[in-house]
Symmetry: none
Subunit: 207 residues, 4 copies
DNA sequence: GATGAATGAGGTTTCATTCAT
DNA sequence: AATGAATGAAACCTCATTCAT
């Protein structure tokens, strides 16, 4: 049995290695630009193993996106349940995105690049995740509207998109090294959280 | 000489057709997802002609990005020269982006997709354009700061990025059909201009 | 009429330019390695003009080879008619080859490369020239055999080949810059003529 | 480990098959005239495998030439070490070339065609091999000069070139079927060895 | 579970050739 | 006579995928 466990965890180890490698490479090169052999090389396994576990290139991406989108979605849903003003909730979302970035910058980048931007992935299956996330945010904004935190004539869809775009490009800039050339430290992230909060609370996104 | 001119303008015409087709297709499928034969088919020329004029797939993209980035950059520079409050200037930029979108939605999308996000293109040459555009916006924000239109402790770089991200995802949503499923009419665009202006003037991006 | 002549000689000029350019480029890159556009560029004319005059890539090569092979063949035939020992005649052939090299190094190289080596050209039509030249040399050797200038049991075909190979690689070495790195002057050629004569008269190729 | 070895030797086998096929085809058609698909067909593998192992057409040729040139070079070096007169050593070289031809006519042809003649290959890297071989022969001639086997004023470089050219064109003639139309038998080769020896010992190449 | 040899569809690129001007 | 725009067959090459070991 000990053997079986060892083997199993070894297997899990390989799967995880592949997944983490895939996130890294795809974030850098995009779905189309990434070769299975790139992923395998990054994971330091034979490329046949990728097929052993995932069956196809698309499945690799699907697995990644499903996992991250679900986690992301769940979190936003929870934030939606919490109490607080609209801007407070939006700030919590941006906080969460920044924290996730801190833990796994490439994953958040990949989510945005391949799902939100799209075109690269199966439009029906994956586009859905993008809309789902945006719709959840929109739900929060809608609730804020009912609570009087924004004008009653505000286009909640547009506001959600603008908000998400603002936070997302901030993250992309961090990933790409556009914002402040060097990779940000934990302290830097804390500071950016504050600054983003200030912008969000500035008025454009509600009260 | 008349002959030479005829041939020359014919050549120019084909080059333009190819370039416009490339913008269209690349915006839809991304650089890696676009095949030369797609471009040629869209331009209704033989694929050999693409090589006759541009030599390689990458050169086609380079030519497009250089052209659009330059035009974009020039326009923002001019807006920077004009007078008005910070939010007014930013609104003019978003107006310009929306108008350009109206005239050529794919081009603005491609600019964002391939230049701002990058990873697909030569990082040194093309990333530069992205930074250049962001820096110009930052210049405008900086000037607004000096004029007292935003708090003196605001991070102008971050504000620029957030602003650009908000407008850009709005455009992407239009291109992708995420925002209001159907392609927007001219009237819709006018309305979106107003709404975006309202958001920008809402307070987060200055006075 | 003056006009007509001018035009005609202009045409001839272009034809010649193309032919000379073709010899140059094909000698350097071989038949398969040479592009029509290379020839046109070297001749400084539009590539369409090559077709205007020659119709196809192969025709260009054919024209060159026919011209040079005929001239070459005629000359060897004449040497065969002259009197002298075998080695004297062979020396005259090597002299002629070196002189031709002096006037047009690439042409002699091309002759050897594409005709003697073959495989690249239509075997029936062009291989013929190669054999023709070798057979003419062999005829001279045969005559020398009858005159008692070599042993009666000598393989005249093999001797002809060995002789031709010796002279030809000497020329190739000159063309390629293998022999004495730098391009040889007229004086150098004179010296090489002497040295080759000495080798030919050394005994291996008869008396 | 047994498994790994099996796969490894399988790989080596395929690489060899491809290499041997490449020699065969390139000898017949030249570098530029050879298509990867020709090589693959001759080796009876998918063309993709050629790329799997060699990456590009040029790499295939490089690998072949390096291998054959090295072997050739080694052998000549050894002959240089042996004792005997100059003509004896040169005869051994021609013997070796003929024997190699017997074992692998295409390889010796390719060596000559692409390396000695050249122009087709990277001039810097491969031309070097050609010079190296000629220089080794020259070294032998030089030694012969010191031993008094040729006149003290002989140009050793030129003599080496003439010798190599004589032997090489003999081989080419065999390959091309110019010499005695039909492919020579082992007995024929033995005879040619003798005849060549006789020519070499005839006086032109020393005593 | 793991490897990498082998395949071939499908893309990129080259370039001889045609033809309108 | 001269040009070079336009074409597309045919080459090169990439890489997802299969499968024997």
């Amino acid at each position: 049995m000990a053997r079986g466990q060892a083997k199993e965890s070894q297997a899990r180890g390989s799967q995880d290695k592949i997944l983490r490698a895939a996130v890294k490479v795809m974030a850098r090169k995009g779905y189309h630009g990434t070769r299975i052999s790139d992923i395998a090389a990054e994971a330091d396994v034979a490329y046949g193993l990728v097929y052993h576990y995932f069956g196809s290139k698309e499945k690799v991406l699907d697995t990644i996106l499903e996992s991250v989108a679900t986690r992301f979605s769940d979190r936003i849903a929870r934030i939606g349940q919490e109490k607080g003003t609209l801007t407070e909730k939006l700030s919590r979302i941006s906080d969460y995105m920044l924290d996730t970035y801190l833990a796994n910058p490439e994953m958040i980048h990949l989510l945005v690049q391949e799902v939100v931007r799209s075109g690269n992935v199966d439009p029906d299956s994956e586009m859905a995740s993008a809309r789902a996330i945006l719709q959840q945010i929109q739900g929060i904004v809608e609730a804020g509207k009912k609570a009087g935190h924004i004008d009653s004539d505000t286009d909640t869809e547009l506001l959600s998109i603008a908000f998400f775009g603002a936070v997302e490009l901030t993250l992309t800039s961090l990933v790409q090294g556009i914002y402040r050339s060097s990779k940000p430290s934990t302290a830097d992230i804390k500071e950016i959280r504050k600054k983003l909060r200030k912008i969000i609370h500035g008025g454009s996104f509600g009260r």
